[in-house]
């Protein structure tokens, strides 16, 4: 335990800086830029039971300070992950979060079961992917289904369970409470916002699936609000993300109520951003004589003067 240690309701991170699923692969590429042990956790690319090829190209649209993606959960499948990626990630002193996805509730149960006896530290139940035909985000917009998915996962595993929520809802608090009630250990949010682009030359949506997910600095003010709202609605800890690009952003999320933060899109812009954020948080705490990161979590919800 040190001043940066955070306890996500059973999952202990060396520090609150993590990286978001789908923006960090399985860590190999970034290990060429820095020591992955500097990260509190790595949430790996979204996994499914079987290999997925993903969506047709184009999959990427740049917007003003944002990125629309329609990758569609391309991944090598959970077996490949277990065999080839876990051993590599285990070389580092960081927590491994397996981001799991299903077409239906059964799939989530099977994924949880399959990973139960494997060497991962937490399962991140993604009920918020906007880029797939079945399941995905739909599960995250209905509190009952969200509840059921989480219940099913917990019936099939003793692992620490994080549930990843979508911001494309009227009232995030209802969903957050449902997954808390179902027994989730922690919540991560936000996944991407549904967005689109139309090609004015072809006069058609650019993406084959029309709608993609918007991430990046553009969404930061919105994501922060979701974290702030959820903080006061539930007791379980939050991993906050959405547009974080520097340590000030990260500190905002922590003050809003995030026990840990994840960097997503900005990893593409500055591969070193995660470690720079760590350093920035350290400086912020030192400059202000803040003893432990815990003192900062959720502070913006209480502070009066």
């Amino acid at each position: 335990m040190n001043r940066f240690t955070v306890d996500l309701n059973g999952l202990i991170l060396n520090n609150p800086v993590t990286v978001a699923s789908g923006t960090f692969g399985f860590g190999r590429e970034f290990s060429e830029f820095y020591d992955l042990s500097r990260l509190g956790a790595i949430s790996v690319k979204g996994l499914t039971l079987e290999e997925r090829l993903g969506n047709p190209s184009p999959r990427i649209i740049e917007t003003k300070q944002g990125l629309i993606n329609s990758v569609g959960l391309q991944n090598p499948g959970v077996e490949y992950f277990i065999k080839h990626e876990i051993p590599f990630l285990r070389e580092f002193d960081t927590k491994i979060i397996a981001n799991i996805n299903g077409d239906n509730i059964d799939d989530y149960g099977k994924m949880a079961q399959r990973l139960s006896y494997e060497d991962v530290d937490s399962l991140e139940v993604n009920i918020s992917c906007p880029n797939v035909k079945n399941g995905g985000m739909l599960f995250g917009t209905d509190p009952d289904i969200a509840y059921q998915v989480v219940k099913r996962v917990l019936e099939n595993t003793d692992k620490h369970v994080i549930v990843k929520l979508t911001p494309n809802v009227t009232d995030i608090k209802v969903i957050a409470k449902a997954v808390e009630e179902a027994g989730a250990n922690a919540i991560s949010l936000v996944n991407t916002f549904s967005g689109m682009k139309i090609d004015i030359h072809s006069q058609k949506p650019v993406l084959d699936r029309k709608i993609g997910g918007l991430s990046g600095p553009a969404i930061k003010p919105l994501a922060l609000k979701f974290v702030y709202d959820v903080y006061s609605a539930v007791k379980i800890p939050i991993i906050g993300m959405g547009g974080i690009s520097n340590s000030e952003d990260a500190i905002e999320f922590i003050l809003a109520g995030a026990s840990a933060i994840a960097v997503g899109t900005y990893n593409f812009v500055n591969p070193l951003v995660a470690v720079e954020i760590y350093d920035g948080i350290e400086k912020y705490m030192t400059d202000r004589g803040i003893a432990t990161i815990k003192e900062l979590i959720g502070l913006a919800n209480y502070k009066k003067y």
């Binding site: 190209s57 990427i60 740049e62 899109t265 593409f268």
Partner: protein
């Protein structure tokens, strides 16, 4: 693959749309023809994403030249940068052209389209330094041709497409299809690469094509730069232009997206 700082040492106007930019590194910068770098254009994140640009020429151990066509915000801003400005980039990236299977003695065809000539320049320089002589090169341009230096020490032809009323692919079809090339190497717009691939696949002449796709990360993690390629006899899968390419064999790419 490294995150590097480089200094802009020269910018030269080639024509209204195209310019060259030289980058100087502190240490030697080693690359293979066909590789690219991913440049952070704006300190202020507009555009947000890096821009992939091929390495067009080695000037010295620690200096390279890029050949850039102005398309939108990113390239427009690059054009406006001042000599001496520091540029943040990741590179070298991608695999580049596969030269190990080639033999010096057999004829090669190289086909470029527009700004697609950029990586072909370093390719031709490399082949030259390896002693290749038997190379036909054809570059097609919509407007006034440019950048013939380096190409013209070989059997070089420029197609001024608008003036001549003929596409570079048609030129190849009309004039070069019967030559016994060991391989073809090409870079240019997708339709050009598609036509050339079809043409040489049918003749069973291997063709290497350098592909483009929108990129978010450039390093293989975002899965944004997918292109469809054949798998087994009847299936397909996706490969990443940034790390599996940008050079692919023309008979593996499926051009239906």
């Amino acid at each position: 693959m490294k995150l590097l700082q480089a200094r802009i040492s020269e910018i030269k106007t080639i024509n209204e749309e195209v310019f060259s930019m030289r980058l100087e590194f502190d240490n030697s910068f080693i690359f293979r023809p066909g590789q690219f770098i991913d440049i952070k254009v704006s300190e202020w994140d507009s555009p947000l994403l890096r821009r992939p640009i091929s390495i067009s020429r080695k000037i010295s151990e620690n200096e390279i030249e890029l050949l850039i066509k102005i398309q939108g915000t990113g390239t427009k801003q690059m054009r406006k940068k001042m000599i001496g400005t520091e540029v943040d980039l990741i590179g070298p990236l991608g695999n580049g052209f596969y030269l190990d299977d080639l033999v010096k003695e057999l004829p090669l065809l190289i086909v470029g389209g527009g700004i697609g000539i950029a990586p072909l320049k370093s390719l031709v320089n490399e082949l030259k330094s390896r002693g290749y002589k038997n190379i036909d090169i054809v570059n097609g341009f919509r407007k006034e041709p440019y950048g013939k230096e380096g190409f013209d020490t070989f059997n070089y032809h420029e197609v001024d497409e608008t003036k001549e009323g003929i596409f570079v692919t048609e030129f190849v079809e009309n004039n070069l299809l019967n030559r016994p090339y060991q391989q073809v190497l090409a870079c240019g717009p997708k339709p050009m690469l598609q036509i050339l691939s079809k043409m040489f696949n049918e003749k069973n002449i291997p063709i290497q094509i350098s592909m483009e796709e929108k990129m978010a990360c450039g390093i293989g993690v975002c899965l944004g730069c997918a292109i469809k390629v054949k798998k087994d006899l009847f299936n397909y899968t996706y490969k990443k232009v940034c790390v599996d390419g940008p050079v692919f064999y023309g008979d593996e790419v499926i051009f239906d997206e």
